[in-house]
């Protein structure tokens, strides 16, 4: 395995933006072995932001990033969260038609895939989920809704996500879940954090006792 070349860019006085082929692996490496002065690590689609305490010597941080060997950069499987879904979303039928498949096929594929939280963004607790079992590209709505309810399970691009609270949104709605994504009074406010694995369960199957 060859060492992936990483580009490190300065982002203000006290943060470095690291290009990463596998942001979650770098996130895990920096969790296990923090850089000097590290106060936050934020993975995104292709980058990891390393936020440092004010006054941190950025050269030391760069040296630390260089020292992380590829072998250290393993994605550590996160905990598995099961999310029950009523697949009754407004966009379910038109989306299935657009994708040229039966509604039940779309639901079945969404519920069969094992998803992983790649990163969190847009709103507190909004996890961007990706899956190796999912290759459907879903366009965003041309006209975003002014309000999407909390618990809406949605698709956009190659991502799936669950709206943690009511907000405007342009993702296509598959259904809703009663599972709470975000609770500021809980010890762990976000149900979904980078690396968490997610499986959606069709509530109809549960009702029938299929599993």
């Amino acid at each position: 395995m060859t060492a992936p070349r990483t580009t490190v860019r300065q982002m203000g006085e006290s943060a470095l933006l690291v290009e990463a082929d596998r942001p979650l692996a770098l996130h895990a490496a920096l969790t296990a072995s923090p850089a000097p002065g590290q106060v936050d690590i934020v993975p995104a689609e292709r980058t990891v932001l390393v936020v440092l305490a004010e006054g941190t010597d950025l050269r030391q941080v760069r040296a630390h990033l260089e020292s992380l060997r590829p072998a250290d950069q393993q994605e550590i499987p996160g905990s598995l969260v099961e999310i029950g879904v009523d697949y009754t979303g407004e966009d379910l039928l038109p989306l299935a038609a657009t994708l040229g498949m039966e509604v039940d096929t779309l639901i079945g594929r969404h519920a069969a895939a094992e998803w992983t939280v790649a990163f969190v963004g847009f709103a507190p607790g909004f996890g961007y989920l990706t899956s190796q079992d999912w290759d459907l590209e879903v366009p965003r709505l041309a006209r975003p809704r002014t309000s999407v309810p909390a618990g809406a399970v949605a698709l956009a691009g190659r991502y799936s996500g669950v709206y943690p609270r009511a907000s405007p949104g342009g993702w296509q709605l598959l259904g809703t879940t009663a599972r709470r994504m975000w609770d500021t009074t809980a010890e762990h406010p976000a149900l979904l954090t980078p690396g968490t694995r997610v499986r959606f369960r069709d509530n109809r199957s549960a009702d029938r006792g299929i599993g």
Partner: protein, 311 residues
């Protein structure tokens, strides 16, 4: 009765702010906190609070309140008219108080804040701090995510804590801070991380052109307007990246946005540069119509971050 501040008039926008919630970026939570952190720290220092105490952040003044209990307080930020009147029935006439000094507000006395002629935000600290319920370790209101206490309303009674009295600095150690509303406001910026996505002339324009703060500006971001937009080499869609306070993001319009404390956690438009910490405080005092110029203080691996002296 427990000490409190009773709000008689909130002004255009008054929120509770402390130094914010650092370290929660991976949950999609931005730092939030005071837009002018230096002014907040100075206010807390004046009343003997620890630096993490919460204070009131006003926007263009306008705040009026009554003390419940005898309270010691201070207002920092740009010079703003402050008038103290005694409790109902008292013969104490209105008293003018300067900004940047400590004063006492007796039980039942009222403080009225006018409007600053330059600058935007004042900080009212009270000995003991504003003791509303913290959310995720901070009492700051984040206007984008909705975290923290609601903006202050008429009739609110904000509890005052008992954690003050550390070491009040009565004779204001230089809290001069920035020159509020300097014309133009000079903002030091570190280029990057995405300056290489822009044309050379865009970089020249960034530093050579005078930018105006537009009315569509708030704690989420300062939207700037310039005669000529900043051009990118291409308009390809880019993966979303984490954002930081002070990031100067350039949307498709080419008119930059300086992210404030309540910035979105991530964004898809490229960040051409990031303000220094000191410049972020200056930006926190910029009001619509103010002129802004950027100065580069370097970039890349060899750059040793410079803490510029604020004017």
């Amino acid at each position: 009765m427990n000490p409190a501040l009773r709000i008689l008039r909130p002004g255009p926008l008054t929120t509770v702010q402390d130094l914010g919630r650092a370290g929660l970026g991976s949950l999609g939570v931005s730092r939030s906190g005071a837009a002018d952190r230096g002014a907040l720290r100075a206010a807390n220092r004046l009343v003997g609070n620890t630096g993490c105490c919460a204070a009131l952040e006003t926007t263009l003044g306008g705040l009026a309140l009554r003390a419940c209990g005898d309270l010691r307080m201070a207002v920092t930020g740009p010079p703003v008219p402050l008038t103290v009147t005694g409790p109902d029935g008292s013969t104490d006439g209105p008293l003018t108080v300067p900004t940047g000094t400590t004063f006492d507000l007796a039980d039942g006395a009222q403080l009225r804040m006018g409007r600053p002629t330059r600058g935007l935000r004042n900080y009212l600290a009270v000995c003991g701090g504003i003791d509303v319920l913290p959310v995720l370790g901070s009492r700051s209101r984040d206007l984008l995510s909705g975290l923290g206490p609601e903006p202050v309303q008429v009739g609110d009674e904000l509890p005052v804590g008992t954690g003050g009295g550390v070491d009040p600095v009565r004779d204001a150690e230089p809290t001069t801070g920035p020159i509020h509303g300097a014309d133009p406001i000079r903002l030091n910026l570190i280029l990057g991380p995405r300056q290489d996505l822009f044309t050379g002339s865009a970089l020249d324009l960034l530093f050579g052109q005078v930018w105006t703060v537009t009315p569509a500006s708030n704690r989420i971001g300062l939207r700037l307007s310039g005669a000529q937009p900043l051009e990118r080499l291409d308009q390809a869609e880019r993966p979303s990246e984490p954002m930081v306070p002070g990031a100067v993001q350039v949307p498709t319009s080419g008119q930059p946005v300086i992210f404030g404390p309540d910035h979105p956690a991530s964004g898809g438009y490229p960040v051409i540069g990031v303000l220094t910490v000191a410049a972020q405080d200056l930006a926190g005092q910029a009001r619509p119509g103010d002129a802004v110029v950027f100065t580069s203080i370097g970039t890349d691996a060899t750059t040793i971050p410079v803490r510029p002296t604020s004017a």
